[in-house]
Amino acid sequence: MTSPSIEPKAHSHGLGDIPFSKLATHGSFDVNDFPVPNGREEEWRFTPIRRLKGLHDGSAVADGTDKLDVDAPEGVTVERVGRDDSRIGKAGFPADRVVAQAHTSFEEATVVTVAQGKALDRHVTIDREAQGGTRFDQYVIDVKPLAEAVIVLNQTGTGVRAGSVDVHVGEGARLTLVSVQDWDGDTVDVTQHNAQVAKDATFKSIVVTLGGDLVRLSPKVAYTGRGGNAELHGLYFTGDGQHHEHRSLIDHNLSHTRSRVEYKGALSGKDAHGVWIGDVIIGEGTTGTDSYEHNRNLQLTDDTRVDSVPNLEIFTGEVEGAGHAAASGRLDDIHLFYLRSRGIPEDEARRLVIRGYFLELINRIPVEQLRDDIMAKVERKLAAHE
């Protein structure tokens, strides 16, 4: 745990002294504004470029399809729209070449709108099954002022996928977005989430990454009004050879905004690689920011790798709270000893402890069936590695 840094101006946390944030929401919608990455760049240095299947150098050809099943209650509209729809690309710039490539190349987008003032009586489920090939995508989720919604994006199947999910949480609205990456073992997924959180709005993101060969997910948050609240929660279980990379960025560009970032992972098996980059910017001239981020990793076997990089940049003296923590470690053998000393067999003791490790996070998912499904999947992955 490190103590909060509340040095005024130009103080940076981890990047040396620089006058303004390098992390700021720079980017471009045009793929040609980004050089082809070679893997040595700061934003690519943890990603195995060779496994991106051509997403990064323009060689990937868009030839794939997704099967989409939407289940939505009254008050929600779901549209499939073309490139020229004015609602696309309004929540933030693509921050890297792959996401820009997706924006340059996509043909179809999905727009989900929750009507103003509507508190949904059940959650929205978007089942997305990748059916092979390469596909570039854009999703827009627009929750109008004072609406309340829980949206589950449940992603399965095989293929190479890149794109953005734009999220607008209107004034006083509340959205919980659960994004499940339960891809087949060979799938590549590079996606950026861009959330715009309005005045007094609450955005909860719950990311669950279990599948895929390579998943690189970048959830970004910015505020359009005071009193905005964003909570990013993430769970990943990274098995043999899998690469799971989560790169969050919270831009406290306005005063009186709050954020929490909590990502927890378990890794098991040869060359399982988990990456967490947690960037938080507290903007110049802002006051009353409250921010905390946290990453924990449980390395169940020795042949796994974790890179965990919290990065807090503060450009103002008027911070209410800011801090971060990161920890990686093994299952605690004293915990296991205690359970086993009461007769509980080792594998069951391990299961209990790992269940306990993820429980609080899973309990944040407001859909019981989904909580049970995810716990069951975590346990299956665990069993597969025993």
Partner: protein
């Protein structure tokens, strides 16, 4: 009828990668079912080490000797097998296991030790009763294992487990430390209930004669420098309380 025998037990504490230190230097002790043996001895003499080594704690390694339950050497068993063979350790410092609820933990444990899952209804009734007997608030069942429990609350829960698991041999490592007068009584009654069947042997590690007024020992042993230095009847406890351990510490040094 169970015979619990510790024979010539030597054990090291594992300190660092290549660092270890011998703590137990040849312990011999036999406990028959129905008997209560009090173990008293100075700080650092190795009492907890003895308890942990028997249970199979990963920080200790046994270098010589045997621990037999009815002739079977439990040192050849894994930690959980030892527990299922009927050996129970109430720890001096019970471990917090966050995220695992007490009720889940207890059900898993009872299932493992009894060899079959108790009916849910029946078990929750049994658990509620056992908690009530120990004056434990029912809300504890939903909390994480020992998570944020006070010292005294942890000790009560150790005895709760003792009562649910009904072991053949119970090793109680300073279960009385840190208990207020009322709690000491409640906890002692729990131990006595577990003893009531006459089937359980008890090794009771303590610094105070206070608990021995409630849980009557048949034998008292002085533990010093990693071995049993002297054995006697209940009266030895009073002598120790009056005179201290000086005599034994010197003798062993």
């Amino acid at each position: 009828m169970t015979k619990f025998e510790i024979r010539g037990l030597r054990a090291d504490v594992l300190i660092g990668e290549d660092e270890r230190q011998e703590i137990l230097k040849g312990v011999d002790l036999t406990i028959n079912s129905g008997e209560t043996h009090a173990i008293m001895g100075p700080n650092g003499s190795g009492k907890s080490t003895l308890a942990y080594a028997i249970a199979g704690h990963p920080r200790y390694e046994i270098t010589e000797g045997e621990v037999l339950v009815d002739g079977e050497n439990i040192l050849e068993m894994s930690v959980d097998e030892r527990a299922r063979a009927g050996v129970f350790l109430a720890m001096q410092y019970p471990v917090e296991v966050p995220g695992v609820s007490m009720s889940n933990f207890l059900r898993s444990s009872v299932t493992a030790v009894r060899g079959e899952a108790p009916k849910l209804r029946q078990f929750s009734k049994e658990l509620q009763g056992a908690m009530k007997d120990l004056s434990i608030d029912p809300t504890f069942a939903a909390r994480g294992v020992n998570e944020g429990f006070s010292g005294g609350e942890k000790k009560r829960h150790e005895i709760l487990q003792l009562e649910l698991l009904k072991p053949k041999v119970a090793i109680l490592d300073e279960t009385d430390s840190g208990l207020d007068v009322d709690a000491l009584k409640v906890v002692s009654e729990g131990v006595n209930r577990a003893k009531a069947g006459g089937e359980m042997g008890v090794m009771l590690i303590t610094h105070y004669t206070r608990i021995l007024n409630y849980v009557k020992p048949d034998f008292v042993h002085v533990f010093a420098n990693g071995r049993v230095a002297e054995s006697g009847g209940p009266e030895l406890a009073d002598t120790l309380e009056a005179e201290g351990y000086e005599r034994f510490v010197k003798a062993g040094a």
